[in-house]
């Protein structure tokens, strides 16, 4: 997915000093970016901080943006790096990956408490079985639907490395779902 003409124009405007063009440039990605950060952290506050920092970084680094690339994927790359930096710092890693059980989803939902939502949240918790690297790869490839090459580029690693992590992640997800939701498997 390459950058479209409108995005190109908006990038050019921002770089020429018309910074008000930045908001229309990133607005279409505000929710997807926050959703990505949320899938990586499973915590709304962390996700919000990551999304905010990613957009600030994107603004500061816009001159280095390669317009032949998808703008969305570039933003996702920044967000994945930002999330990884946070995990490495370690301050919240444990909370982000191990303290999930029992935490209500942060997004307000009128259906809160209903069986369907609970089932959905439980399925999403199977992401907790993944290591940070596996989660990055799985979220970008399987939930955000980037292809292998774009995932590798976003994470700054090789396609082979992505395949290895993806294979392991899918195995763990399948195992988690099979153990916790056997009735879903049986129903198929």
């Amino acid at each position: 997915m390459r950058m479209n003409e409108t995005e190109k124009e908006l990038v050019t405007m921002v770089l020429s000093g018309r910074t008000e063009a930045f908001e229309p440039l990133v607005s279409p990605f505000r929710q997807p970016l926050l959703a990505l950060a949320f899938r990586l952290t499973r915590n709304r506050e962390d996700a919000l901080e990551i999304a905010q920092e990613s957009l600030l970084r994107a603004f500061r680094s816009l001159r280095r943006y390669d317009v032949s690339r998808s703008f969305r994927n570039w933003l996702f790359q920044i967000a994945a790096n930002e999330a990884r930096d946070r995990f490495r710092k370690g301050a919240r890693e444990k909370a982000a990956f191990n303290d999930i059980v029992g935490r209500a989803p942060a997004a307000a939902d009128p259906e809160a408490g209903c069986e369907k939502q609970e089932l959905r949240s439980n399925i999403m918790r199977s992401l907790d079985a993944l290591s940070p690297r596996e989660r990055e790869v799985f979220v970008l490839r399987d939930l955000e639907e980037l292809d292998i090459k774009a995932t590798a580029r976003a994470l700054g690693c090789s396609s082979v490395s992505v395949r290895v992590s993806l294979s392991s992640a899918r195995r763990k997800i399948r195992e988690a779902i099979r153990q916790d939701f056997a009735h879903l498997e049986e129903g198929r």
Partner: protein
């Protein structure tokens, strides 16, 4: 392909992430192996399940206040971030120039003060007299030797 080999490749095959050649080999095996076919079905079902859950969950959205506050943070950063291209020096280049200047300054100070070579002539000396200033690095004591044009010793001054 053996079942063992195919099962290693199933997670990638389930998401269409194998190359065409290996993909065909896996498919050929799947067509005739019910147990691998069942395992493939489980992978696909798990992927479909979590994708559907992610889609339904959607994820949180920004409140208008959070978004407006972020955009307000970006505006003041504009003056430092979006500079004319000519001024956007990489950090390493600026650091190199600064280092070179500092190095030159230190070298010029060292050689100006310590070189034991010919210095300016003593006011008393004529045009054919040269002086050598020797400085002890330990004590800081200075001795000036005066030499004539044939480099014969003519006297000294502390």
């Amino acid at each position: 392909m053996t079942c063992r080999r195919v099962r290693k490749l199933l997670p990638l095959y389930a998401g269409d992430d194998l190359g065409p050649r290996r993909g065909r080999a896996v498919q050929t095996h799947i067509d005739r192996c019910p147990s691998c076919r069942q395992e493939l079905g489980e992978f696909r079902a798990a992927l479909a399940e979590i994708r559907a859950a992610a889609k339904e969950e959607g994820g949180p959205d920004w409140s208008e206040g959070e978004w407006t506050a972020l955009m307000a943070r970006i505006r003041p950063a504009a003056s430092e971030a979006i500079r004319p291209l000519g001024l956007a020096w990489p950090r390493w280049a600026a650091a190199s120039v600064l280092g070179a200047f500092l190095g030159l300054a230190v070298l010029s100070m060292l050689f100006r003060d310590r070189a034991p070579g010919p210095q300016q002539a003593s006011p008393a000396a004529g045009p054919d007299v040269v002086s050598l200033t020797l400085v002890s690095q330990k004590t800081g004591l200075q001795v000036v030797w005066f030499l004539d044009k044939n480099f014969d010793y003519k006297g000294e001054q502390e």
